[in-house]
Amino acid sequence: MKISFNINGMPQSVEVDGNTPLLWVIRDVLDLKGTKFGCGKAACGACTIHVDGEAVRSCSFAAKFAEGRDITTIEGLSAGDELHPVQQAWIEEVVPQCGYCQPGFMMATAALLEKVPNPTDQDIDDNIVNICRCATYYRMRKAIHRAAEIKNANS
């Protein structure tokens, strides 16, 4: 079926089986490889994107539900060359190790900061529930607080 949506601010139409997980449309049809496959069962969060601003695990989100929605992936998180506060904070705190899960974490964090501009440690524990096998959680927590600071200073 034909599915039309906006992705990273650009209108896009694809012709796919509507039950295909949006993850594979993003990765293999649109060739945006920043969104990662981890488990295919919405259990790890590596595939987290934004659908109308909400964090969504795209491996378990059928492409047909993307019709008419605004999709953002890690490639669209920054405004051109200017990195999003979450990305800036991730660089300042030198968070990534292998880096594979990090786009998912950054997307989840960016969505959290829209709702909770100054997250407490408890907010972070409750909302950031992705999996990082390199276990970069310690720096990630610092980076989330730092991202909130940068974002609040900018606005």
Partner: protein, 722 residues
């Protein structure tokens, strides 16, 4: 645009073993069949002296100078998160005389000829390349200077270099300009290396070079690889332990949408389709007949793994521990256990392969570039030189990518359709076809003297294989080493003042694949020994930190371990007992020559064990990048905490389970300590191991704290207060 110096033809492969771990070199000598020599070889393997097998004499294989005066280091070691690329760039920049911002590091494809003879693993990348890479970089600098001297018609000795620009005689030339004129390199003798104190980048917390790529989601991983006209593959994998492929009915699969070809081989069946989902769906429609064996259960494995059931091998012996412990009174005895552990790295295994006539190209996350190439070449019946392995960034390694038979499968699928095929595991297949951390069982015995110190101690560890059976080590190494160095890593007694000590490794062959998992046996062995040391200290009425310090020998290794223990206790403000509802637990280990100690600050709420803070001191020798040493400690501590508190695979009705994150419990953000304090000591003048040693003490440190809080000695990982 990049322009590299003309590479000399390179027909003679140079594998140089730089030091003690050279199993391959030592194999030929008859000495090592004698037990005493076996033991000392094992001791050497345990200390993991820096080793590197690969080119150390051909700088132009390593460095490519671009027209815009950047230097690209083609690394034979892979980047799996451990920060090796950044450390290598720092080391090279200092001898090349370029700024760190002029350095770029990429994976060396095997076609470049710069191939690591062994693997990326064992925490050996920086330590193993420390000397050769400095020599290569210094030599490359001299080669560039010599060419500059030729162009400038002056004596190379009068030239100076700064930030990749050679100056002298009132003129200057950038490296990028020099290489344009070079048709063949002349390699001089290795020049003297700079003094470490003169280095600008080594020793500094340089931000990782891959930071930006990793925060913008650049397509750098194996799973992101693409080629024109690429198709997608899927291979049927068994869910049952020990299952062997017999045959397949592919009638339905062939009719599935998007299917290009169903491929039946003697040992597997797979499918090629136009998209990932179509390949998965078609694979699921294949009716495979598997030959399965016994209907294994966890109880079977627990029974097999008990000390006494497998083949014993004495790995350490001093004095007469057996005599004291068999015949003495008041012998303290305890048993410990650790479960089957999954790698659970986020990027699944897989490969993108293109077999084009008599050539093959494979893009893959691998820790064993040379073995991957050999396996693909062997399977396709091609010369190794016809197979180009292009390593990508790894979405986690942790030892899982030391086995890459999936590369052969992707290559076979590609050959069947004549197009590039990308073929990856799904998550269930990852969990059921992992090469697991083996379960272990430990029996410890000790006798205390009147003064409360240890008169005799013995550690028995029974484990599935780690190193044995791995393509990394030839089968011939087994009788020479006697016991599986990976399984007993961390299993020796590190308290050399004890008059009688002994360690025995028991080998058990399990019905499923077990292998390398970050730090190998270190996590389980340290959990057992360092928990037992805590039991002994309490029995003796002694402070557990002082109890350890009093029994460490006075040699260099002992000195470094003592310093690490003292630094950890000092920094943590070590206090025994329970204070404000929290207790500290202490543990220490030495791994691959690097001592490390932890203090875990823990509370217990209901049945939940909560780790609030971990203080860690580590002495890796010279820290090439202190920030990345810290990052490795932080990650290893939380990964170890995850294994110690949550992770466990079980065997049920012939299958390994669970098969998905969540049911396979792992540490999440909420479980990670909010404070991690890392102290880096540098009591050696060269870099040592970093990536694995800090995984050692964490399990015991937590368990020792839990004992203080609850009076319960938890002797089995994952630690549970049920």
């Amino acid at each position: 645009m990049s322009e590299s110096g003309t590479k000399k033809t390179f027909s003679r492969r140079k594998f140089i073993v730089r030091s003690a771990v050279g199993v391959g070199v030592l194999l030929g000598t008859g000495y090592f069949t004698r037990p005493i020599w076996r033991r000392s070889l094992a001791e050497m393997a345990n200390s993991m002296e820096p080793s590197y097998m690969g080119d150390t004499e051909t700088p132009q294989l390593w460095f490519e100078v671009t027209a815009d005066n950047q230097v690209i280091l083609h690394s034979p070691k892979v980047e799996m998160g451990q920060g090796t690329f950044t450390g290598l760039a720092q080391i090279a920049a200092d001898e090349l005389e370029v700024d760190i911002r002029q350095m770029k590091v990429v994976h060396a494809a095997t076609a470049t000829g710069n191939i690591d003879g062994l693997s990326t693993g064992g925490s050996l990348s920086i330590s193993g390349l420390w000397q050769p890479l400095r020599e290569l970089a210094a030599t490359m600098r001299e080669m560039l200077k010599n060419e500059a001297a030729r162009i400038l018609k002056t004596d190379a000795a009068t030239l100076t270099v700064k930030e990749g620009v050679v100056s002298g005689n009132g003129q200057s030339l950038a490296y990028g300009d020099i290489v344009k004129t070079v048709t063949e390199w002349t390699i001089p003798d290795t020049p003297p290396l700079k003094d470490v104190s003169a280095y600008q980048f080594v020793g500094k917390p340089i931000p990782r070079l891959d930071l930006r790529d990793k925060v913008i989601g650049a397509p750098i991983f194996g799973m992101d690889a693409t080629m024109p006209d690429m198709l997608y593959g899927a291979v049927a994998r068994p869910s049952a332990i020990g299952a062997r492929y017999v045959s397949a009915d592919t009638t339905e699969a062939e009719k599935m949408p998007g299917v290009v070809k169903v491929v039946k081989e003697k040992d597997f069946v797979g499918v090629v389709a136009r998209s990932r989902m179509e390949a998965e769906n078609a694979k699921n429609a294949i009716k495979v007949t598997w030959e399965t064996g016994k209907n294994w259960q966890s109880e079977d494995i627990e029974e097999m793994i008990k000390v006494g059931k497998g083949e014993p091998f004495v790995i350490q012996k001093e004095g007469g521990a057996e005599n004291v412990l068999d015949n003495g009174e008041n012998i303290i005895r305890a048993e410990y256990k650790s479960p089957i552990g999954a790698h659970a790295q986020l990027e699944p295994n897989g490969a993108l392969a293109f077999v084009d006539g008599d050539k093959a190209t494979v893009m893959i996350s691998t820790q064993v570039v040379r073995i991957t190439r050999g396996e693909v070449a062997g399977r396709l019946g091609l010369d190794e030189e016809k197979v180009n392995i292009i390593p990508t960034y790894l979405g986690g390694g942790f030892g899982r990518r030391l086995h890459t038979p999936n590369a052969m499968q992707a290559a076979v699928l590609s050959r069947a359709v004549g197009k590039p095929v990308k073929c990856f595991f799904n998550r269930q297949e990852e969990f059921q076809n992992d090469t697991f951390r083996p379960p272990t069982h430990h029996v410890l015995r000790a006798k205390l003297r009147e003064d409360g110190l240890i008169e005799a101690i013995e550690h028995n560890v029974s484990s599935g294989d780690v190193m044995f059976g791995s393509p990394l080590f030839p089968a011939i190494a087994q009788p020479i080493l006697g016991a599986d160095v990976g399984a007993w890593r961390g299993g020796m007694i590190q308290y050399g003042k004890i008059p009688n000590y002994r360690a025995v490794s028991w080998r058990v062959k399990l019905p499923f694949a077990t292998s390398w998992w970050r730090s190998l046996g270190l996590l389980a062995n340290t959990f057992a020994i360092e928990s037992f040391m805590d039991e002994l200290a309490i029995k003796a009425g002694k402070d557990p930190v002082q109890f350890r310090l009093d029994q460490i020998q006075d040699d260099e290794a002992g000195h470094r371990l003592k310093e690490v223990i003292k630094a950890t206790a000092d920094k943590a403000g070590w206090k025994d007992g329970v204070h404000n509802g929290r207790a500290m637990g202490f543990a220490a280990s030495t791994d691959a020559g690097t001592p490390c100690a932890h203090v875990a600050e823990v509370s217990v709420e209901g049945q939940e064990i909560k780790v609030h803070k971990v203080t860690c001191a580590i002495d890796p020798g010279l820290a090439v990048n202190p920030d990345q040493v810290r990052a490795q400690c932080e990650g290893a501590i939380i990964m170890g905490l995850s294994a110690a508190l949550y992770e466990k695979m079980t065997v049920k009705d012939g299958q390994l389970t669970p098969t998905i994150y969540g049911p396979y419990r792992m540490a999440l953000m909420k479980h990670a300590p909010k404070e991690i304090d890392v102290v880096i000591l540098e009591n050696a003048d060269a870099p040592g191991a970093v990536g694995e040693p800090p995984l050692g003490p964490i399990g015991a440190a937590i368990a020792n704290a839990v004992f203080r809080l609850t009076g319960r000695r938890l002797r089995e990982m994952p630690l549970e207060l049920t």
